[in-house]
Subunit: 241 residues, 6 copies
């Protein structure tokens, strides 16, 4: 029995509220259960130096957690003077994932920076961040298209992410904090709307996992992500979820 | 005429939503017009080393702006590797102000850390932060009292803050970004419920101000802060504003 | 009774020695009692990038304390790897204050950097620094004028600063360290020769101050600064004080 | 055709030389083709503070590249003042992987730190590092056992790692730099001697990969790692490879 | 002909003013011509952790240059966020040199930190700093002796330093900035009152120097340092030089 | 008797293996006994900004120690976030020394960066590094000459370095770690093939040394360096040593 009473292949309640920022070109607040992440996409014309003059664009991401997004207050990274290894790993993952579904030629010499700031954390912040970042980026691209900065085909496919893990011997979908902190295995999957894989990160600090368990996790991720992509489509269509 | 059509001594619409965090012992989202600041108060038993073993507590604050809380995306301070001088100045101000209304003996050997994170900025973020931080701290103290960690008299008075400035020759209350960025003078006042001054910071980068203008700003601040304290009382009384 | 036997509205003995540096374009050693600050003004043609090409100049300041300027040796900031929040706050204050009396058009595309280094500290280092920085800057502007780099009207007015505070219930002028460390309220005022206000910073960490006390502090500051400006005039006139 | 003429499921020539350091308790130089990594394991009794007094040990790793281990000289991280995100990601991966095969109770309150320094890089530095780090750690544990610091069962299984990728449409094993820099997909697998998974990291910055491709990569990794484990056994048995 | 008209083996005018700080336990302002260095010695009971509990003391030094001690304003190291390699080299040299004439047993578990801050630089700042630091340290030890913290034999010998160099083919003593910046060779010598060597640092960035030239520099240093030690003795005897 | 049984003026066994890097334009592994340093020379066309456009080149060096090159594991400087004062001192010394034998006009607007990474440390790492860096630099210059980037006369003379010290009262050549850690005096000499001095650094933290001892050290250094230069010539001639 999962602490949340969910069945093994059940996502938490997902909510996505678009246009939550007055300033950002695209934005949303996404919730996976009690995990809430604010995603804002900023359109900039100032590419990084090594990317300039090639007729192509760039997409990057930054990630942060508010100090009291967690049960115990965390030290503010700006005070500590650097981002932790974990933060850097996550923001590199978000950026790479988003780039996998963007046509950089079609984007032109523009940069989109997506900031994912965790307002409240209850497990799965990176997967919620990726799923929400896609919405914010999509709205930023729509903003560019309205202004005829780009054409039609910038975004090539949907992108969503979910975690899976082996919890008390059972493979389960979308771990919350209670599950995550005691799971034997924790895996994060990023996939496209077409069901292709963009990133797989499976980790077994406690107990190595078998090839069979790996197959179960892959199956759960495929199911969960297809549901998330479905929700993204409804939200971008103007529905409220 | 002010860009917002307000009369000179008129505050922006103020909203305070309490208990917006599942984790923090006290929290609120405060809005001064379009400026929105999330304030969370964390109760910790781990005093800074220089404060230990004296039977007294400590209150401190940290301040941050989300990168896209502003019209142009700002660099994330955690990425830059340090807090700007402005950030440090503001968080020192918030901490000092809160300490002025706390009885450190009554607080005992506990620390309250208030994080003020600007979700959206439209001028007056530090004054909104102080006004909201007082609510978050009050709720954290109430949380401690419920658990009999502290007694009755920890908080000695209300605390609120507002900015004033000389805009196109006229002293006005509670500057928004449009006013602030072109004001000749910008002053921030922090006052108690009893109408005493905790902090005054008046700055004239453009044009020095006269003794008469200073008196006008003081008068505006007294009016604005008494209204803010009134709202704080209603909110802490359970009303929705 | 003040520890120094001064009457409430009495400044400490002020000394200003000009041209103490062989290298700097303007310099002075200023003393407020035992507080001694070396101020050197450097003329540079290299404006900060965001200020270039606009036909205007820039004035900035840096502040430091020698490690043994204080009763207990302080950690050297260069060793610590960063300037403290207090240092940054003070140097931002000095820079803003100086800019308030400089005509940036008249200065042309030149930068003046004033370094204020505290040789010995006994309270009021920032106000001594501002008062001395004005002299060093004036001499640097005179140096530029001699070389026909600028014309006549670069400096628009005098600038001086003083602290006031409530010490044992009495508002007093120009606090020394003994007073400062036990004052209920500490306020710093920066004013022009014409008696206008450039900066007011009043802080009550211990006990909030009343509107009446604020008025007393303002009055003391006006008196003290007019005396300091008078001394500046004599010193710039070639007198020894 | 692979640039190196290897068939798709063929490892590069692997060499492991043990005891290359006079100081370290365990060490080896491992080569995967032209990639060479020096792995040294240091036994320390000084656990990190959060790990103390629990009767268990800790294993951690650090990773670095010599500035000219690459075709173009890279900036030295000690000069840059920080480790890159990539470096931190890799050293966290190595540490997590090693911990998955160590019985922390059996290790007792000791720490093993494995340094993996890349002498020459030609793709696959992190997988060579993990495979070599296991040897260095094993020798350090043997050193401890000889001195009766630990007993028999500290290391629970073998551990090795390999990369796979989709190169010009074909899944291939153990990518060298030429392949890696143009592969559509790059995946790193860490597995135990028993064929269980410790880490999977698959990334598709260029082109998302299908479920079928994922299965091929898993199969290649299983084959490659079982060969690497076989070599580890021979080397630890005293054979030269 | 030297730019300063001095003969080859002639020191610049040396001045040493003792007790220039109200706070420091020992202090002096030392001038070698236009080079002026403020040396303050602080007595602390807080030894570095690795030095504690051994019944011995420690002497250390820190060095800094005020930003406008030089012809062109230098960047403040506290702003840059670190001490330059040159600064660290010099302060390590000063500390090592001072330790060579202190009996650490006799000093007991006390630390003396000597700060050498260059007020004005005209070549030879490190040698002036060492020569002055010895005076400040001596006065701090005398301060300790008066208070019976230490006994008689803490300082074992005098210590002074001077630079020599080959300027336009001629070995000369005590280089000023004009000579130093165009000398083929620059050497710094630190010696004791008994004429023994504590440090020799000879550098030929431009043109390697011969064994004969080295012998000449050694001879000049011996002469110059014996004169400096003579002056130190007079100054510590209460004379004014 | 020296711990290594060497006679006082005897070098340790020296080995120099050239071309140990596939990537670097010049490289060698040099051993002075158990001290081993990997030296790689990188040819770059990107001069530091202050050196550009003058028709001359630049040579610089960086130095590092692998964490377990020493008996006790040292903290990795990249993790610590900065290079130690010792590291900076050494790499500045290596760079200065190399520059003393290079004709910067003949080098043209090219930079050579020599990285000296200590694989194993047993005393004398800086002198081994300089002696090996000269070989790596020579091979890099030969590489440039083959490609007609430079002409014949870039390197003006040989360059080698050795340490000497007073060990148990006797001046000895080329100290190993056992001697170095208990020597009264430690001196490093850098000399050219023609027997001229480039750098002398003599330090007596324990006991000042006499003029006679200094002469002995100079004599030992002259002998040792002439032997090292002889070996360099044989190695560059293609012999194996």
């Amino acid at each position: 029995m999962r602490p949340s009473k969910r069945v093994p292949d059940q996502l938490r309640t997902v909510k996505i509220e678009r246009n939550v920022s007055n300033h950002a070109e695209g934005s949303c607040m996404i919730s996976f259960g009690n995990t809430r992440v604010l995603c804002t996409a900023s359109v900039e014309t100032n590419l990084p130096p090594w990317r300039r003059g090639q007729g192509v664009g760039w997409v990057t991401a930054e990630y942060g957690m508010l100090p009291r997004s967690t049960g115990q207050r965390m030290r503010r990274e700006a005070t500590a003077g650097k981002q932790s290894g974990r933060t850097q790993e996550i923001q590199r993952l978000i950026g790479r994932s988003l780039r996998a579904v963007v046509d950089m030629q079609a984007l032109g010499e523009n940069q989109i920076t997506v900031d994912c700031d965790v307002i409240e954390a209850d497990g799965g912040t990176r997967t919620a961040a990726i799923t929400g970042a896609f919405i914010a980026m999509s709205d930023a691209v729509a903003w560019m298209k309205e202004r005829e900065i780009v054409g039609d085909n910038v975004i090539r496919d949907h992108l969503a992410a979910v975690s899976c893990g082996v919890y008390q011997g059972t493979p389960v979908l979308d771990l919350d904090y209670d599950e995550d902190s005691s799971a034997e295995t924790d895996a994060n999957f990023v996939m496209t709307g077409a069901g292709k894989f963009v990133e797989i990160q499976g980790t077994a600090e406690e107990e190595p996992f078998s090839a069979d368990e790996l197959q179960s996790l892959i199956g759960l991720a495929q199911k969960g992500i297809s549901e998330l992509v479905e929700m993204q489509k409804r939200v971008l269509n103007g529905e409220t979820i």
